[in-house]
């Protein structure tokens, strides 16, 4: 029981992070029906921006919360701009092309960005100053680190903020309208290019936050850190029903849980396999996912 609860806490921590990344996949898919394979690299870029900023700020003697807060905001902004540039360069010129062309362009962008990270940041692991936030507390028999609290807290805050943005604000309504009918949204005066760009920016901001939190959780980042979590988050988006925001959150949590429990009860060697087994199973038995409706009717 103790072990179970401990794994549950770990699963929520990891699942929240996957949910953040999965949202970027699902929102972009919802609006332009593209699987943005470069999304994992944006997440990695966020992780790197985080380690650079946090190390520097921490070395200057700023308190941990200031380091973390500033790094989050700046890295999210940086990745938002990066993703908007990627969209402008690699996807927007192909708006009238077949979906396959854009998909290939996304794969190319993924390789380009990953190699860019490798060239500028090196091929070795880069350590986060994890001594910044140490310790934890015991809740009954379960050990919860302060870092986990921060990760879950920030994740929850971002998920709530995203829901408010998408469902309560004028821009959020315009995003949903654009996802549902681009011609009609243009006819009411919505500039769809701007909305698409904004969607990439928001997804990238969430991924950047996830990158930083994974860096803090595991203590280091690597140039190719985006690949496997990228595919896992994609699996989460598919599990939830691609294009569906609530589905991505749910899918992310589920994938995180399944991974942690499988690692704990079956074998940690095979923990990466389970997300992919789920991806295959969902695609085979339930292609629309948990929250998905009809395939052409499941956007945002």
């Amino acid at each position: 029981m103790e072990f179970f609860l401990q794994q549950l806490v770990n699963g929520i921590t990891l699942g929240g992070v996957y949910a953040l990344v999965a949202l970027g996949y699902t929102m972009v898919y919802g609006i332009i029906q593209l699987i943005n394979f470069a999304h994992g690299e944006i997440y990695a870029a966020g992780g790197y921006m985080g380690v650079i900023l946090i190390s520097w700020l921490f070395a200057q003697g700023f308190p941990p919360f200031v380091c973390l807060g500033a790094a989050l905001v700046l890295a999210m902004g940086y990745c938002a701009l990066l993703a908007m540039a990627v969209e402008k360069l690699a996807y927007q010129p192909l708006r009238q092309s077949s979906r396959l062309s854009v998909l290939l362009s996304a794969l190319g962008m993924s390789i380009f960005l990953q190699n860019g990270l490798m060239l500028t940041q090196g091929v070795y692991d880069r350590a986060y100053p994890t001594e910044m936030v140490q310790g934890g507390f015991e809740l009954g028999t379960v050990m919860i680190s302060y870092m986990q609290c921060i990760i879950v807290g920030v994740t929850a805050l971002l998920l709530v903020a995203l829901n408010v943005l998408v469902y309560k604000t004028r821009i959020g309504k315009a995003m949903r309208a654009t996802a549902q009918d681009k011609t009609m949204s243009a006819l009411v005066g919505i500039n769809s290019s701007r909305i698409i760009s904004l969607t990439f920016a928001i997804g990238a901001g969430l991924a950047a936050a996830a990158g930083i939190m994974v860096g803090l959780y595991y203590g280091s980042v690597r140039y190719d850190m985006g690949f496997v979590p990228g595919i896992k988050a994609f699996s989460a988006a598919v599990l939830g029903g691609i294009g569906n925001i609530t589905g991505a959150m749910l899918g992310g949590l589920l994938i995180g849980m399944i991974e942690v429990f499988a690692a704990g009860y079956i074998s940690s060697e095979y923990k990466d396999v389970f997300a992919f087994i789920i991806l295959i199973a969902v695609l085979y038995f339930m292609p629309t996912g948990i929250m998905g409706e009809n395939v052409d009717d499941t956007r945002v």
């Binding site: 004028r170 309504k173 315009a174 949903r176 309208a177 549902q180 009918d181 011609t183 009609m184 949204s185 243009a186 006819l187 009411v188 005066g189 919505i190 500039n191 769809s192 009717d297 956007r299 945002v300």
Partner: protein, 241 residues
């Protein structure tokens, strides 16, 4: 009225889908305050004409002038703020936005919150059923309710020129009457100029001052609504006699 500057003028507009020309050298003029019908059979190019006005389709040749400005080549999302608004064929309600959110989207480009609220209340007065169904998804409405919502959404942009594509399509006669009564009301009370595209030529011409007849992408006739209604050829071809 004909001495005035037209609010909308098409000069020899040719538009195509790929290599198939859907309208050829269509010219028409609409003057402020008019209700003008474009009638014609299925596939005659009526919707294409509207889409060419709104910039969804960019004409290959010819010019579109609106309110003294040439607008062909402009992006369609710039037009609502200038008072040019279309209720397209099939109504195109945002299915997973609530009724109220659909109306909000009609006022997307506007910043005057108080006036937007006022207009929303006006729409609810015109179509009380929309107020009842305010929180429901647009996609769950019946066809008639969706047509009302589409018109309400258009009114939220405070249009000066309203393009209506087949507002009667697939609706029960009673609803059609209600829709046309409101078309006349917005024309007469608010001074909105209306271009009406209809297969139901009888209905459309009875609510219009003038009409154009489209046949396989060409304007074949242009006259006052009364004259068109009295014309034996038109009666035979479009009024089912």
């Amino acid at each position: 009225m004909t001495q005035q500057q037209p609010i909308l003028e098409l000069k020899n507009v040719t538009s195509a889908y790929g290599r198939i020309k859907a309208i050829r050298e269509v010219s028409l003029k609409v003057y402020p305050g008019e209700v003008v019908s474009i009638i014609g059979a299925n596939g005659a190019g009526k919707s294409t004409t509207l889409m060419s006005i709104c910039g969804v389709l960019h004409p290959e040749q010819g010019e579109v002038w609106y309110d003294g400005v040439r607008i062909d080549g402009l992006a369609s999302d710039l037009l609502p703020a200038r008072g040019l608004c279309q209720v397209p064929e099939g109504r195109r309600i945002f299915p997973r936005l609530s009724v109220e959110e659909n109306l909000d989207m009609g006022a997307f480009f506007r910043k005057d919150a108080a006036a937007i609220d006022h207009d929303k209340n006006r729409v609810f007065q015109l179509f009380p059923i929309l107020q009842e169904r305010r929180k429901q998804y647009g996609g769950t409405l019946s066809g008639g309710e969706q047509q009302m919502l589409a018109m309400g959404r258009a009114l939220m942009s405070r249009p000066r020129l309203l393009l209506l594509d087949e507002p009667s399509l697939g609706l029960a006669p009673l609803i059609v009457q209600q829709i046309f009564r409101i078309i006349r009301e917005i024309n007469e009370a608010d001074g909105v100029t209306v271009v009406l595209v209809e297969q139901n030529a009888n209905l459309a011409l009875k609510s219009s001052s003038r009409g154009y007849v489209l046949e396989t992408g060409n304007v074949v006739m242009e006259d006052s609504a009364e004259a068109l209604l009295a014309n034996p050829d038109i009666r035979k071809a479009y009024l089912g006699e």
